[in-house]
Symmetry: D2
Subunit: 291 residues, 4 copies
């Protein structure tokens, strides 16, 4: 298959930057966004083409990057893509939804790949995102040229839903690593330990994680909490991870506990809180500011 | 102060390698070990000098690297170092013990530094250990030339006990990050996800940690579980971390839970288990092998 | 409506005893069991009538008491009850299944009540069970005379699924109270406290629960662990409770943690273990026998 | 020994009522309180004798009922009781403190019994408290006539510290049972279940506890939260229970988690909150009022 046209649906903080890479590889790049002016702005800035949703879903490859699987399901129910196309869903979605959409679209000769990304806005900007893909391997092979412009790593991880599953577990681990680090640093601070020195030690030691290497210094200790990935989306992802655990009837006490804490932190935080602000719930408990 | 003599007490897996670097910087390097033949062997191999414990504690700088603070306290109670010397304890010890020894030795004009290390045997071999130091900053300044031969980073983190505190929290975070990752990968495997692919994605994403980058691939997924750091010592360190939490009367649910799990894993494992074998308890629960 | 006939499907430890009360109130009591000889034995012993499943589902009131909702769904899919009848499901089932069956049967003019019971075999024997009922209140009013023979308390708790929800939460609380008590008594025994004396104190104090008043003394401390309620069914119920939590997107850290522990305890125990044997997992961890 | 004189130190909500029973059995009943007017008031009301602390500690049996072990230690350090006397400490104290005081006073021929009580102010009023006693059994035998006036059950539970240990575990279980019940009822309410009906069912079933039988209906669901037992004291007791666990190096995940939650609830609540107000932290998380 030669890809003649690609479409990108959902120009949020991630989608906006991801779609911007597509004109490098394709002449016909269609973009659509609920607030349509945003699509027009994207077209003006990056040489994409702002189109009606009906035209968007007629592309050979359709990307979607929306808040939750629910929006994707609604969209597909209303606007069926053309036979032979591939829908690449970059939402951080639900594995069961991917399985449903996969079966549903297969019957219409459309392939559905769950292909969530990680790397945040900076990775989207640079085109170095990690793309974890579930679904038909051969469909991924065909769609790969369209994914490559914004990807650093494209990894097939299994059948339909697997990509969403890996993304949910990744974000769950981020939540655990961050929350646990916050608890640990609170204890250190309570005992008068130099927090910056401690961070330097841990980041040169076995306890380090992305949470201690980037989240604590760049978002928490400097009190910036920039909203680049919303806490309520992290809470949603943690919920998806726990659904995986529940459906497999597995014990997973640490994930289960942390999911509850992140849920509580999200539900007691301002709507526009960055995920890193989860630690503020702990700060309210301890009266110790992580700085 | 010019350092004329240094001594190293405790030639276990770590101490053996750490002491081996000292002859590069000092002419008079004394070593002592409970099993004395090991000290003699060290002397033969590295040009150190196997001495009686009484002579060891007469050095200008005395290092100790023993299983727990209890052994250090016993040793110091029986063999007081000379006035003006500095005792640098590289054990992963208890903060309260450091505070006690610091006060106790100060009265005899001996400085006590809690200076646990991280970097494992490979870091000890290469002389690139991270040394996190609690106690008098000026004493550290004086002792620094003796620490440098085996250190990559020497970080003063606060008053007496702070070094042990940071080490305990580091190891606690390692435990949390590892256990949570094991839970997450169990869930992925239960859903048929490609575990190696998932690991590649997570290690290129925000959920990564030292546990996912080195422990899972190098110890767990290859089923090697090499015993380089014993599970019962990790359980001890997690207990020290929780003692910090308790003494500060802080809530720390994730650390508290994980400490219980690591304690259970250690108490139901073979004595010579590597820390990474903690995940085998989860495997017994789930009947899913992490490989 | 006058009830002319009642049927009881599922003559396990509970159903056998519950059905035995029905002939006191009704002339036409039909019983059915997969192993049909058991139905015949029941008929011989209690004056019920062993019938074909087709005849059972033609009764005015049909009771079912099966291991899980899955068996009930299968049965109803294959054998639709007659219009105007009421299906009273005493299984400890899933709320979502009750909601589905309620809608499904309503369309055929059959009412479905989720009506799980508590009180164990002794309560079934004596006819003093607590029956927690979800579904149409008017249908319960009509079915009440058929339930009364084996009930001590018949409580309407809300719409379809509510009965199952209350039962799941009840059993979850039993699990928490039991497991926590086991942890507490392990700590007391480790410190040399007289466990029987401690139990007497707690059962006269604010920490008491059904777990300390009956489960510990009658099942655990005497090491009898009589299998009257299987551990894997408790694990299933705890899972249902956590599903409730998850669907409502609520934080519930203590329930979530305990559900994981009970799941692990069940999956590492012999199939025929009593629920009280969950504490044996803790005993394996601590090497302290609760006696 | 004949008991000629008894003294009661600490006339708080519990002590006030406990001391009021003593004149029924003894002619010489001395009372002391830091705010001395309270002692004078007690004397006027119950026929006790308000005395100087020096005279109080000269009684044959000295009771103390203070907020924490720390106050008891200070008092005893300053005012040593006479040889041959028995100190009966009804504080909810720390086992290690009891062990220390036991040894310390033994050397002065004074027996120390840790004898915390349960039954709340109503039990103190009626003289039906449960008294859980650690320490020398023979000393308890001698002191028993002085304890009986306010006791329903006097139970010797082991060596010094055992009484405090049992009390701490009892209160820890209260905390677990209450918090878990709050989580469970939140889930039920979120699903529209009738909470009062559910409570009736659970209190007739295996999930019941003192928390569901008295705390939820009498303090939470009616939104009264009467401050008869302070939340910060429950948090202290839970901390003591976890110290027991830690010292014995036991895993106790559910106690550890709940202790953290109660600590957080206490530290984020008004100072004069009743223990039952712990559930308000959960309510803030879920936005579901337990009523």
């Amino acid at each position: 298959m030669t890809i003649s046209s690609v479409a990108f649906i959902g120009l949020g903080a991630m989608g906006w930057r991801m779609a911007a890479h597509l004109p490098k590889a394709f002449a016909d790049v269609r973009v659509w966004n609920r607030t349509f002016s945003k699509a027009q702005q994207h077209a003006a800035e990056f040489g994409t083409r702002a189109v009606d949703i009906k035209e968007a879903v007629q592309a050979d490859i359709i990307f979607s990057c929306l808040p939750t699987s629910s929006e994707v399901e609604t969209l597909i129910a209303e606007h069926l893509p053309k036979a032979g196309s591939i829908w690449v869903d970059c939402t951080s979605g639900e594995p069961t939804s991917a399985q449903y959409l996969n079966v549903h679209l297969q019957a219409r000769d459309v392939a559905f790949l769950d292909a969530p990304v990680s790397g945040q806005t900076i990775g989207a900007e640079k085109g170095t995102l990690t793309v974890m893909v579930g679904g038909d391997a051969e469909a991924l092979q065909r769609a790969r040229p369209a994914i490559e412009p914004f990807a650093g790593l494209i990894q097939h991880v299994g059948d339909s839903g697997s990509g969403f599953a890996v993304k949910a577990v990744n974000n769950m681990l981020l939540a655990v690593n961050l929350w646990a680090a916050a608890e640990g640093f609170s204890a250190l601070k309570a005992h008068g330990v130099d927090v910056q020195g401690a961070l330097a030690c841990i980041n040169a030691s076995s306890g380090k994680s992305n949470a201690t290497e980037t989240v604590l210094p760049q978002r928490v200790f400097n009190r910036s909490f920039p909203n680049t990935f919303a806490l309520n989306l992290l809470a949603k992802d943690a919920g998806i991870a726990l659904d995986l655990v529940q459906r497999a009837k597995l014990p997973a006490p640490v994930l289960a506990l942390t999911q509850s804490l992140i849920r509580a932190a999200s539900d007691t935080s301002a709507n526009d809180s960055d995920f890193s602000a989860a630690v503020k719930m702990l700060e309210r408990w301890t009266n110790i500011e992580l700085s």
